[in-house]
């Protein structure tokens, strides 16, 4: 055969051998895999910088007039009067970025540690609960999706309830969970899990049903067990679907944890910080904004972690799409 002239033949065999030694059934890491991850982060930073620029631009055009001076009566004294006056862009609704970042390094309370420390600690508390909730929710979702994929009867009778569970606001569920588990860290995690399991269930179900029917017929002709078919064909085919759900679940778990903190009486997390700074918004809006930024960062960290795991696990599948 003369087919060996094809470009695929150039793929380095050394890498394959490494993977074989590691016992990996899937995948050959491509040389640019690491820089791929770096690219995701860089792209994110670039967009963030752009957003900050737009923020200040809007304030420049329509914000509250502002004055910069090093000291009263000093040489450098500059005042800017924006040409328009947008209510949305005034200092109360959109504090200046330097005020927000300035608030971070100032003490949160008199003589206390700087706000950034307080928020970082709060973020760790919330992240821990969100992570546990994410894991529980994902496990439940995978389990339910797998059961439904194998039992049309259970699917038809239970999926409506799964859907209904998501139309009940989490605030209505929270008191039950809190009474059941006692207010505390576990009730926060469970409320996060409650928001997570739904997308994972639905997408696992879809993904497990996604293989080519002929692939399933082949498995039938090998007299493969349901279990073998699940692990060798259905789960690998479902991975792209499952990861889509995990990305949604990763961010909802953070929201779930923050909301869950309120009825659970946890004040050490980001939810507590939001509640606290909400009360002072009219006086120091930048503190709430600083908290919002921290919350966003936590969500983005979760999201990026899942994206990176996905890239590693589905690297051979992505090539087909392109």
């Amino acid at each position: 055969m003369t087919d060996s002239s094809l470009p695929g033949a150039l793929v380095a065999d050394a890498e394959h051998d490494v993977m074989d030694v590691l016992g990996a059934d899937v995948a050959v890491p491509q040389p640019n895999r690491f820089s791929d991850g770096v690219k995701i982060v860089l792209r994110f930073v670039a967009v963030f910088a752009l957003a900050m620029l737009v923020w200040e631009l809007v304030k420049f055009i329509g914000g509250t007039p502002w004055r910069y001076t090093t000291a009263e009566g000093a040489l450098f004294d500059f005042t800017w009067f924006p040409p328009f006056e947008f209510k949305i862009a005034n200092d109360l609704n959109m504090p200046h970025l330097w005020d927000i970042f300035g608030a971070l390094i100032q003490p949160a309370q008199r003589n206390g540690p700087p706000l950034v420390n307080v928020l970082a600690q709060a973020a760790v508390v919330t992240m821990a609960a969100a992570l546990v909730g994410f894991i529980i929710g994902t496990a439940v979702g995978l389990l339910l999706g797998t059961i439904f994929a194998h039992s049309p009867l259970l699917e038809r009778s239970l999926v409506p309830y799964v859907v209904a569970s998501q139309t009940i606001p989490i605030l209505a569920i929270a008191p039950m969970v809190v009474v059941w588990l006692k207010a505390g860290w576990w009730s926060v995690a469970l409320l996060a899990a409650y928001l997570c399991f739904f997308p994972v269930t639905i997408n696992t179900l879809r993904g497990l049903r996604s293989p080519d029917p002929r692939a399933l017929e082949l498995m039938k002709s090998y007299a493969a067990t349901t279990w073998a078919t699940l692990w060798k064909v259905r789960y690998p085919s479902a991975l792209p679907y499952i990861f889509t759900a995990l990305k949604i679940a990763a961010t909802t778990s953070v929201v779930g944890a923050i909301i869950g903190e309120l009825p659970s009486g946890i004040r050490e997390g980001l939810g507590g910080a939001i509640l606290n700074f909400n009360q002072y918004y009219a006086i120091v809006p930048q503190k709430l904004w600083a908290t919002i930024i921290f919350t966003a960062i936590v969500g983005i960290l979760f999201f990026i972690s899942i994206t990176l795991v996905e890239r590693v696990m589905t690297r051979n599948m992505r090539k087909l799409e392109s």
Binding site: D25, V28, L218, S221, Y222, A223, T225, N316, K319
Partner: protein, 258 residues
């Protein structure tokens, strides 16, 4: 004993008003080592018949015996290798892991599997492509991987549904020759669905001609071309005569219906 013995098989799809009679009164016995081609107009039930033999679907009535056992039991015994028109490879597995998949399911050890996969890839002339992924292969190479996979566990019966239908003429003729070589070496019995008359004549020991609506067997034409067959076979006057005979049998089926 026949490898496949089909008696009075019918297959009806759907319920009363919208029924399709896909197969009607099919009787066929296939002997060990035969190469049987099923040929007929689109929708005449070739794939359906193949899938009934392989117990992927069951007949509405009638009996299918494979090596003397009912088809479901033969499937449990792993007596079928199946090749579809599309290669249906698993994208996340390398070529060798694709070939090894049935062996994994059958519980062979990694070293047994690897040895067997290498042997099979040699048979389909893909040595050196063990570590490639399916997307790195041409269509013809992918189809050869799927043949290697179907043969990996030594099934006594190979069921092929238009395996070369999506390939160009040159690749197709080359794979025809390769398939005959594999058939001679492995002594597998093959049931082969095709739309190509020359392909059916070149490969087969018998060509089963079918007609549509309802799907039934109209004629079975023995192919008495000498073995082993090669490029020269296609030049023989007898080859042309048989091609003509199959073509006329196909027409007969058409005109009998209309």
């Amino acid at each position: 004993m026949s490898v496949v013995s089909i008696s009075s098989v019918n297959k009806v799809f759907g319920k009363a008003p919208n029924q399709t009679i896909a197969l009607q009164d099919i009787n066929l016995a296939i002997e060990p080592g035969e190469f049987i081609s099923l040929i007929g107009p689109s929708g005449c039930g070739k794939s359906t018949l193949l899938r009934i033999i392989g117990d992927l679907i069951s007949p509405s009535n009638g009996v299918v015996l494979v090596n003397g056992k009912p088809a479901p039991q033969a499937r449990e015994n792993r007596e079928y290798g199946i090749v579809f028109q599309a290669p249906v490879l698993f994208d996340w597995r390398t070529v060798e892991k694709n070939v090894q998949l049935p062996l994994e399911i059958m519980g062979q050890t990694p070293s047994e599997r690897a040895a067997r996969a290498n042997e099979m890839l040699e048979l389909v002339e893909l040595t050196g492509f063990q570590k490639h992924y399916p997307y790195q292969l041409s269509g013809g190479m992918q189809q050869r991987v799927s043949i290697a996979r179907a043969l990996s566990f030594n099934p006594p019966l190979l069921l092929m549904d238009e395996p070369f239908g999506a390939l160009d003429e040159i690749t197709r003729e080359r794979l025809n020759a390769e398939l005959l070589a594999i058939w001679a070496r492995t002594q597998t019995t093959i049931v082969f669905v095709t739309h190509s008359i020359p392909e059916a004549v070149f490969l087969s020991t018998r060509v089963v001609v079918m007609s549509a609506r309802p799907g039934r067997i109209t004629e079975i034409i023995p192919i008495d071309l000498p073995q082993p067959r090669d490029m020269a076979t296609r030049e023989l006057p007898r080859f042309y005569a048989l091609v003509t005979q199959v073509r006329e049998a196909l027409r007969g089926g058409e005109s009998a219906k209309g």
